[in-house]
Amino acid sequence: MIEIHSINKNEALRYLGYLDEEPTYDTLIALEKNEKELLKVIKPRYIYKCFDLIKMEDKVALKDCDLVLSGESIAKHLYYCDKAVLMCATISADVDKLIKKAQVEDLVDAVMLDSLASAVVEQLCDEVEEEIKKEYSDYSTTNRFSPGYGDLPLSIERDWLAVMDAQRKIGLFVTHGDMLTPRKSVTAVIGLSESKIENITLCDECEIKEKCEKRKRGEYCGL
C-alpha cells in the first residue's frame, strides 16, 4: 500500500496562486503546521483494474462491462492502446471534515489545507501511476486522463465507480451533480499499448484552456 509522509508544498503553493515568488516565512510556517495536521487524517486508498478496449471513432468501450468512455478526446488519447487501466484514488472523508472545521476556526488554515489536500491527491495518483507502470512494464503508457478533461463528460463518474466497485472497496461516492465524495478524490484512466505511444496534446482543445493556470505557466496537465 502507498503511504504518504510528506506533501509537495510547492504544488500546494501553486494552488494558492504562487508562481515563482517566495512565500513569506510566516506563510511557510503556517503551511508546515497545516501539513502536519493533514498528514494525521489522510488515509490514502486506491484501486485500479485493467480492461481490454473496443475502440470506435468517438468513444472507447471497455470489454466485458457496460462502461463506454465517450468523446473524441478520450478516443484520441487511447488511439494507440488496446488496453487501459482505470483507477480511483481518495484520501478519506476526514479531510473534508478537517477543512470544514478550519473554515470556522481560521480561513487561512482552511485554504492552506485545501491546497495541500489537492496536492496530496495528485501525489497519490502519481504513485499509483508508478505502481501501474511497474505492473504493466511490458507496455508503454499514456498520461492520466480524467472525466471532465476534453469532452469526456463528468456524468460518466457514476458508471465508472460502479464498474470499479469503488464505493464498497474504497468508500468513494458520486453525488447527483457528478461530484466525487470524499471531495479530494480522483478517477483517471491510463492507456496501455504494446507499441510506442505518441502522446497527443489536447491542450488547445480543452474546455478550460482560457482559464487554465497550468497552461498560463506553459505547463501541461497531461491531457
Binding site: L16, G17, Y18, E21, P23, T24, T27, A30, R45, I47, Y48, K49, C50, D64, C65, D66, L67, S92, A93, D94, D96, K97, I99, K100, K101, Q103, V104, E105, D106, L107, V108, A110, V111, M112, D114, G148, L154, S155, D159, A162, V163, Q167, R168, I170, G171, F173, T175, H176, G177, D178, M179, T181, P182, R183, E207, I208, E210, K211
Partner: protein
C-alpha cells in the same frame, strides 16, 4: 418458523454471496445484478436453493441494490424488481423452514453534510424498498458505512414494517467504517433505534474479525451477526484468498466471543456455508457477559459516563446578546465557533439550545445539529422545550444524543419520553412537576423515581435516564444547596442512576461567582455528579473536573490531566505587540491580536464609522491592490481579512451591547448553488464583503434556487453572489439566475467559481463576473454604493 423461533437455535445460519455466484455465471462487471431476478429468475432461484441445501436458515433476496437510486434508468421499477426478487426467494424456500430476508444495501450516495443527499431523501428511497418487499419474513440492512444512512434505513423499516430487522455495517481493520463510524457508535445507535440483531459484514476476511467481534460484544446485548468476505480479493481477477475450509476454521475461533448469526459475504459460495454449518453443529452459543454501560455518541466518538464528563452550556442564547444576534442573523459561523471553543476547552458533550421567540426553533435546531456534526465529533445534548424541535433534531442526529429534558409533569412524560424511546436517546429528567421544585431531597427523589418508572414503561433502559436534582440560588435559598446534593447522592447511589446538574445557577447574585461555582461543583461530584453542565471555558470549572478525575483514579496515570495542562504551559508564539503600530498597519500585516486591542482602544474615543471608513477599509484596499498586482497572495489576503474581521467583531459587540443598530452598507445574499458543496471560495468572498461593511446573508452550499429568491425577497437584498465550482453545477447557477429574473427580483447577480469565464457568465444572464474575492468587493461597491 419465524425469526424469534429461529433465535432459539444455538446458531442461525445465513447464506453466502449472491454477486460472486452471478459473476461466476457470466454477469458483466458493473451491470445491475438485481435485474436478473426478472430476466433470469431460474438462475436466481437455483442459487438460493444451493444455499438452502447448504443449510442456510435465512436467505437474502436479490434486492441489495434494488432501490430508486441504483435502478435509475434501468427500465424497471423498484416494486417490480423487489417483488420479483422476493418471489424468487420464496419459491426457493417452498417446503423448507428457511426464511426470506429483504436485503437492503446502501443508496450509493453520501448523506449530508459530507454529500448532498438529505436524511429524508435517503429515508424515502428505503421506504419504497421496504414497502415493495413486504412479503419477506425478515429485513436485513447491510454493507453500510455511514451511520446516517443506516439510521435512515432502519427508521424506514421501523415506520413502515413490523418485521424483525438485522443491521450490519462494514468495518476496516482499524475498527472504523470508511466514513469513520466506530463500533460502539454503531452499537449504541442501532440498538437504541430498535434493531433486532447487529453486526459486521463484507470488507474484511474472517481472520481480521476477532478484535472487532470482541469490541462489539462489549457494547450490545443484542444477538451478534457476522457475514465476512472470503478474505481479500485479487485486484485483477477478483478471486478471494480464503478457502471454504479456512473460512470455517477462522470462524470457529470466534464462537467464544459470542457470535449468534453467521454467514458469508463476497467470495463465499454454498460450500463455505455447508462447512460453516458443519463446524457449528456441536458448538454452543456463548452469550457475552458484559454489563452495558451508560454512554452517548456521535458517529465517530463515544462518551462513556463512567466518571464526571463535562456538558458545555455555551450554545444557548439565554442572557447572551451576541448569541441572540447570531441566531436572528442566521450567523451559523458564530454558533459553530462557540462549539469549537468549548471542545478545545475540554467539553465532552455539547448542549444545543437555539430557542428564541423571533426564530423558527425547529428549523434552526435541526440546521445547527446538522452543521455541528460536520465539524465536531462531540456528542450532542438536544435542549428544547418544543417536542417537535426535539424530534426533528433527533431524526437527523447521527448518533445517540441526550434529550434535555423531561420532568415529573404527566404532560411532559407523555410527550417527551415516547420521542426519546423511539430514537434511542438518553434523557435528562428534571426533578420538578406540576407543583414546582420540591423543597426537600426526599420529594425530588420521588419525582426521579416516577420519571424512571415511566421511562422504563416506554422501553427506555435505566442506563439512559440521567436525573437533574436542580440547583437553586444559594443567595436566595441557602439551605437548598445541601438538599440538592442530598437528593443527588440518593439518586446516584441508592437508585443507581446517572446524574446531571446545571451548576452555575448556585452563585446567582453573589460576588466572585466562580469561587462558589467551582466549590459547589466539587461537592456535587463528591456526592455523585456524573454530568456537570458548565461553561468549559471557565478554567476553574473544567480544572475541578479534571482534578476530580485524577484524584478518584478515573484519569489513569494522570495522563489526561498532564496532557491538558502541559500543552497549556507551552507558551504559544506571541504576536509582538508594538505600541507604535496603527490599526491600519495591523490589518495590513494580518495581526489579529493587535487589531483587536487597537480597535478596543479606538472605540473609546473614535466614531465607529471613522474606524471603518478611515482605517479598516483603506487597509484592506492596500492589501486588495497588492493581491490584484500579484505582490500579495491568498493566505495574506485572508490573514488581513481575518484581522479586519476581529476588529469588526469588536465593533459589533459594542454596538449590540449599546443596543445600537449594526453598521451595514447594504445586504448581499451569497450561496453556493444547488448540487455543489464547494464553499471555501464563497466563504472567502463572505469575509471580505463583511470587512467592507456589507451585511452578508450566507445561505451556505447546495442551495435551492427558490431559497435564493426567498432570501432576496425577505432581506430586500440588492446583490446576489453565486458560486459554482463544477461544469455540471453551472446549470443550477443558470436556473437560479433565471428564477430571479422571472420573478422580477430587484437585484443584480454576480457569479464566480473555477470553471466560470466572463463570457459564460454573460450567457447565463449574470450581471457581473468576479474572478476572485477582491473583484466581488469591487462589484459590491458598484452595485450598492450607487
Amino acid at each position: 418458523m419465524d425469526f424469534n423461533t429461529l433465535l432459539k437455535k444455538e446458531f442461525v445460519i445465513l447464506d453466502g454471496a449472491m454477486g460472486t455466484m452471478l459473476q461466476k455465471s457470466g454477469l458483466k462487471i458493473g451491470a445491475i445484478p438485481e435485474l436478473l431476478s426478472i430476466t433470469e429468475s431460474r438462475k436466481i432461484v437455483d442459487i438460493h436453493k444451493q444455499y438452502i441445501d447448504a443449510g442456510a436458515d435465512i436467505i437474502y433476496a436479490n434486492t441489495f441494490g434494488a432501490n430508486a437510486e441504483k435502478l435509475k434508468g434501468c427500465g424497471y421499477s423498484v416494486q417490480e424488481v423487489v417483488s420479483a426478487s422476493v418471489n424468487n426467494a420464496k419459491k426457493a424456500c417452498e417446503g423448507t423452514n428457511t426464511l426470506v430476508a429483504l436485503d437492503i444495501g446502501p443508496t450509493g450516495q453520501m448523506l449530508l453534510p459530507s454529500g448532498t443527499m438529505s436524511f429524508e431523501q435517503a429515508y424515502e428511497v428505503f421506504k419504497e424498498q421496504v414497502i415493495a418487499g413486504k412479503d419477506a419474513d425478515v429485513i436485513v440492512i447491510e454493507t453500510m458505512t455511514q451511520l446516517g444512512e443506516i439510521r435512515a434505513a432502519l427508521l424506514a423499516v421501523k415506520e413502515n414494517s413490523d418485521k424483525p430487522v438485522i443491521c450490519t455495517m462494514t468495518f476496516e481493520k482499524n475498527m472504523r467504517t470508511f466514513t469513520g463510524c466506530s463500533i460502539p457508535a454503531m452499537a449504541k445507535t442501532l440498538q437504541g433505534l430498535g434493531a433486532n440483531a447487529i453486526g459486521i459484514n463484507c470488507s474484511i476476511g474472517p481472520d481480521d474479525l476477532p478484535p472487532i467481534v470482541e469490541e462489539l460484544a462489549r457494547w450490545t446485548d443484542l444477538p451478534i451477526v457476522i457475514k465476512p468476505n472470503a478474505g481479500l480479493p485479487d485486484p485483477s481477477s477478483d478471486d478471494y484468498d480464503v478457502s471454504a475450509q479456512d473460512f470455517s476454521k477462522s470462524i470457529e475461533k470466534i464462537v467464544s466471543s459470542g457470535i449468534k448469526i453467521v454467514g458469508g459475504c463476497c467470495g463465499t459460495t454454498p460450500e463455505y456455508i455447508m462447512l460453516l454449518k458443519q463446524m457449528l453443529e456441536n458448538k454452543k452459543y456463548q452469550k457475552p457477559q458484559y454489563e452495558i454501560q451508560s454512554a452517548v455518541c456521535s458517529s465517530s466518538n463515544t462518551v462513556v459516563i463512567d466518571c464526571p464528563k463535562i456538558i458545555g452550556e455555551r450554545i444557548n442564547p439565554t442572557g447572551k446578546k451576541r448569541f441572540k444576534q447570531a441566531l436572528i442573523e442566521n450567523d451559523m459561523n458564530y454558533i459553530l465557533s462557540q462549539a469549537l471553543e468549548q471542545v478545545s476547552a475540554g467539553a465532552d458533550i455539547l448542549d444545543v439550545n437555539v430557542g428564541l421567540p423571533e426564530i423558527d426553533e425547529c428549523e434552526m435546531l435541526t440546521k445547527t445539529v446538522m452543521e455541528l456534526q460536520e465539524i465536531v465529533d462531540t456528542p450532542l445534548q438536544i435542549d428544547s422545550s418544543d417536542p417537535k424541535a426535539i424530534e426533528s433534531a433527533l431524526r437527523i442526529y447521527q448518533g445517540k444524543a441526550i434529550v434535555n429534558s423531561v420532568n415529573g409533569e404527566q404532560k411532559s412524560i407523555d410527550t417527551i419520553l415516547p420521542i426519546v424511546a423511539k430514537y434511542g436517546a438518553s434523557v435528562v429528567g428534571l426533578t420538578l412537576d406540576e407543583k414546582g421544585i420540591p423543597k426537600t431531597a426526599q420529594e425530588r427523589v420521588e419525582i426521579a423515581q416516577r420519571i424512571l418508572d415511566s421511562a422504563q414503561k416506554y422501553g427506555i433502559p435505566k442506563r439512559d435516564v440521567y436525573i437533574d436534582c436542580l440547583t437553586l440560588t444559594a443567595s436566595a435559598q441557602q439551605e437548598q444547596a445541601t438538599q440538592t446534593l442530598e437528593a443527588l447522592s440518593v439518586v446516584k447511589n441508592k437508585m443507581g442512576l446517572k446524574t446531571v446538574l446545571g451548576v452555575s445557577n448556585i452563585s446567582f447574585g453573589l460576588p466572585c461567582r466562580e469561587m462558589v461555582n467551582s466549590t459547589f461543583l466539587t461537592m456535587a461530584m463528591q456526592s455523585g455528579l456524573d454530568l456537570p453542565i458548565i461553561n468549559p471555558n471557565a478554567e476553574s470549572m473544567t480544572g475541578a473536573v479534571r482534578a476530580f478525575r485524577l484524584l478518584t483514579g478515573a484519569d489513569e496515570n494522570c495522563t489526561n490531566y498532564i496532557e491538558a495542562y502541559t500543552s497549556q504551559n507551552k507558551t504559544p508564539v506571541q504576536e509582538i505587540k508594538s505600541n507604535d503600530i496603527t490599526l491600519k498597519e495591523a490589518v495590513q500585516k494580518g495581526l489579529r491580536g493587535d487589531a483587536q486591542r487597537l480597535t478596543k482602544q479606538l472605540l473609546e474615543t473614535c466614531d465607529v464609522m471613522e474606524i471603518i471608513n478611515e482605517m479598516l477599509i483603506p487597509a484592506l484596499d492596500v492589501v486588495g491592490d497588492g493581491f490584484e498586482k500579484g505582490t500579495l497572495f491568498l493566505p495574506q489576503l485572508i490573514q488581513s481579512a481575518k484581522a479586519a474581521q476581529v476588529a469588526f467583531e469588536e465593533i459589533k459587540t459594542k454596538l449590540i451591547n449599546e443596543n445600537k443598530a449594526p453598521v451595514s452598507k447594504g445586504k448581499i445574499v451569497l450561496a453556493t448553488v444547488k448540487g455543489d458543496v464547494h464553499d471555501i471560495g464563497k466563504n472567502i468572498v463572505k469575509v471580505l464583503l463583511e470587512n467592507y461593511g456589507y451585511t452578508v446573508i450566507d445561505l451556505g452550499n447546495n442551495v435551492e434556487p427558490s431559497a435564493v429568491l426567498d432570501a432576496v425577497k425577505t432581506h430586500n437584498a440588492k446583490l446576489v453572489g453565486l458560486s459554482a465550482l463544477m461544469t455540471t453545477t453551472l446549470k443550477s447557477m443558470e436556473e437560479t439566475i433565471k428564477l430571479l429574473k422571472d420573478n422580477n427580483a430587484d437585484c443584480k447577480t454576480v457569479v464566480g467559481g473555477a470553471v466560470l469565464t466572463p463570457e459564460y457568465a454573460k450567457t447565463i444572464g449574470a450581471d457581473f463576473y468576479a474572478k476572485d474575492a477582491k473583484e466581488s468587493v469591487d462589484v459590491a461597491k458598484i452595485v450598492l454604493n450607487q
